[in-house]
């Protein structure tokens, strides 16, 4: 497959273009997604290409934006709705959790709805724009939750989400919008939902990393290799349903687990991964699993404070050596 070094946002944008081209039932709604092409340019050119009927700028009505998706999907569209920041999803929780997630349960019908949002502390936007609560949605029966860590997955997962017949939440990471990864240009390129990617193989320690932490984990793994520690790095990509087999398989082999994420540790994805590991790999664990997470504190605004709150490459590297001891 031909690939191009796309930025994360370009992956998203290409996915939207391709899927809207492919299926006229795909529509896009959200604040500023149309005329302006998104507050961060992610959706540029979609309105110009597909017109104002299919690409609409909404007012600031998060609950109803989500509801637009639920209702439109119920009458036959395949809507993609954007809720700008995860923090704003809090205004749409009823529509996402009580309505969209339960539609199939109540009606027996599919609800091909994709909800896109951004999360994470990469943007110096402070405590009401940078939260990471992907675990919330992962706890809800009926929702698929994906969290791409790079352009390739951003493209492939979003395309899969749009083609999926069930509500899927795509959590994009703000701090990665301009990060590049080689990405197939192909229209048929999909990243399957529910399948983790082993970004690096290794024998001594398993790292499960998400979002903005994947690249850091990879770099720390490189360094650890130089120190003689062989690290496997798994990016779950889909948070719910979690690819338990890949994680359990790896941890069973290495006996050591480090989970790295941008959310604080308590009641998070990292908690679930640790619980999973100890439940499923108990006899094979050679060291206590380690959670490397953001401090359990609000997200500050200045970038150095933001960075002080989340694990850096040095921290990860040190933890890898320590757990491998």
């Amino acid at each position: 497959m031909t690939t191009r070094p796309l930025k994360f946002w370009q992956g998203v944008n290409q996915a939207l273009h391709q899927e809207m081209e492919r299926d006229e039932k795909v529509v896009l709604v959200g604040e500023d997604v149309g005329g302006p092409g998104g507050p961060y340019g992610v959706t540029r050119n979609l309105r110009a290409t597909f017109g104002p009927n299919r690409v609409r700028d909404t007012p600031i009505s998060e609950a109803t934006i989500a509801g637009l998706g639920v209702g439109a999907a119920a009458v036959g569209l395949r809507p993609v709705v954007e809720l700008m920041f995860f923090d704003f999803c809090m205004l749409a929780m009823d529509q996402i959790v009580n309505q969209a997630a339960k539609y199939r349960y109540f009606t027996g019908r599919s609800l091909p709805l994709t909800i896109r949002t951004m999360s994470g502390s990469g943007g110096s936007y402070g405590a009401q724009h940078c939260q990471s609560f992907e675990a919330w949605f992962a706890a809800v029966p009926g929702l698929t939750v994906v969290m791409p860590s790079n352009a390739r997955d951003a493209k492939g997962l979003l395309k899969s989400a749009i083609r999926s017949d069930d509500p899927t939440l795509v959590i994009e990471t703000f701090g990665l919008l301009t990060a590049r990864r080689d990405t197939p240009v192909d229209e048929d390129f999909l990243v399957p939902l529910g399948v983790a990617e082993t970004r690096r193989t290794g024998d001594d320690v398993t790292v499960v990393a998400t979002g903005r932490m994947v690249d850091r984990a990879l770099e720390a793994a490189e360094r650890a290799a130089a120190d003689g520690v062989s690290v496997e790095v798994i990016d779950p990509r889909t948070i719910a349903p979690l690819d338990r087999a890949t994680i359990v398989g790896s941890v069973s082999r290495t006996g050591r687990l480090v989970v790295v994420q941008e959310a604080p540790a308590p009641f998070s994805v990292a908690a679930e991964v640790c619980a999973l590991a100890v439940e499923e790999c108990f006899g094979r664990l050679r060291a206590a699993p380690v959670r490397l997470c953001a401090e359990f504190a609000n997200v500050p605004t200045p970038q150095d404070l933001v960075e002080a709150r989340v694990p850096g490459v040095d921290t990860i590297h040190a933890a890898l050596l320590k757990v491998a001891e």
Partner: protein, 309 residues
């Protein structure tokens, strides 16, 4: 329901009203027998809202309903047997008896669902209207909700967006004077129907005791929506003759007020429009239908604990 029927014959109206009324009375009996899992919110006295509004609708139009929605479901054409079975917790019910009264849906007849969340249907109906508009269909979405729901954030959001996009949606506020255990004065500042004005679309108040008035107002609102002229807000003034739920003694209610509504009962008035023999035939028909529905439901297996979802 044939397409584009604007004013159903009196016998049809009576049949539909009576179906709503007797369905709920029969279910309430079953409830008292302990056969209905979950709470049961009845719409006794409010039948004319559902029947009047749905008289203006086609099968391909869609509605969203509420926690108090049996009459909406029936008026939109939901299957009586599957509804009865659902309420009685049977596998032959709409969702295999697992969900009961607050979660009945039948997309095939345009029923997107009753709802346990007050105001939860407002964004969904708006979204459905958007979906219909994008597809260039001339179908409409109707959103039923109580006056209590006008206090939810969803209400203002939905009205604003529907107005901005001239969506084919009719917002039907069923003002039955109570929200749970408190009167509408606890919930509604000013007048519901007037809320539409500020968004630049018509708000209309209509007498919910008069099924013809409801049907006429609905016909106009639906025609407006079909024509691409945007939303309408109908405030149907009605009265909740039942308690909030079956078992609610409703002591907070003024009995004289309730009696006044009973005295102008839409079901009784619709019956009076018919010759007695015709009316009696419909009475029999409905009793037979419902007795059969109960019987078939009770003969069906109960919801299966293995079938969680």
């Amino acid at each position: 329901m044939p397409d584009d029927v604007t004013s159903p014959p009196p016998a049809d109206l009576y049949r539909r009203l009576l179906l709503c009324r007797r369905f709920e009375e029969v279910v309430a009996e079953q409830y008292r027998e302990g056969r209905v899992p979950g709470p049961l919110h009845l719409a006794l006295g409010q039948e004319a809202t559902a029947v009047g509004v749905c008289a203006a609708l086609r099968r391909t139009d869609v509605i969203t309903s509420t926690h108090r929605g049996h009459h909406h479901c029936l008026a939109k054409g939901a299957d009586v047997d599957r509804m009865m079975a659902e309420l009685l917790g049977r596998r032959t019910g709409y969702s295999a008896g697992r969900n009961g009264s607050m979660h009945i849906a039948d997309p095939d007849v345009g029923l997107l669902g009753t709802n346990g969340i007050v105001g939860g249907g407002l964004p969904i109906a708006t979204g459905a209207a958007f979906g219909l508009q994008v597809q260039g269909r001339d179908d409409v979405a109707v959103c039923f909700f109580g006056e209590g729901a006008t206090a939810t954030g969803n209400f203002g959001e939905a009205l604003n967006l529907a107005a901005l996009w001239a969506l084919p949606v009719v917002f039907v506020c069923e003002n039955n004077r109570f929200a749970e255990l408190t009167p509408s004065s606890t919930h509604v500042a000013g007048e519901v129907w007037q809320r539409a004005e500020a968004y630049g679309f018509p708000g209309v108040r209509v007498d919910g005791g008069d099924v013809h008035a409801v049907a006429a107002a609905s016909h106009e609102a639906v025609a407006r929506a079909r024509a691409g002229d945007g939303p309408t807000l109908l405030e149907v003034m009605t009265y909740r003759l039942s308690g909030h739920y079956v078992g609610d003694p409703a002591e907070y209610r003024d009995e004289a007020e309730a009696q006044a509504w009973r005295d102008r009962d839409a079901v009784v008035r619709a019956r009076a429009d018919l010759a007695e023999t015709d009316a009696a035939a419909i009475d029999d028909e409905i009793e037979t239908l419902l007795a059969g529905a109960v019987e078939r439901a009770l003969a069906a297996p109960a919801a299966d604990p293995e079938e969680l979802g």
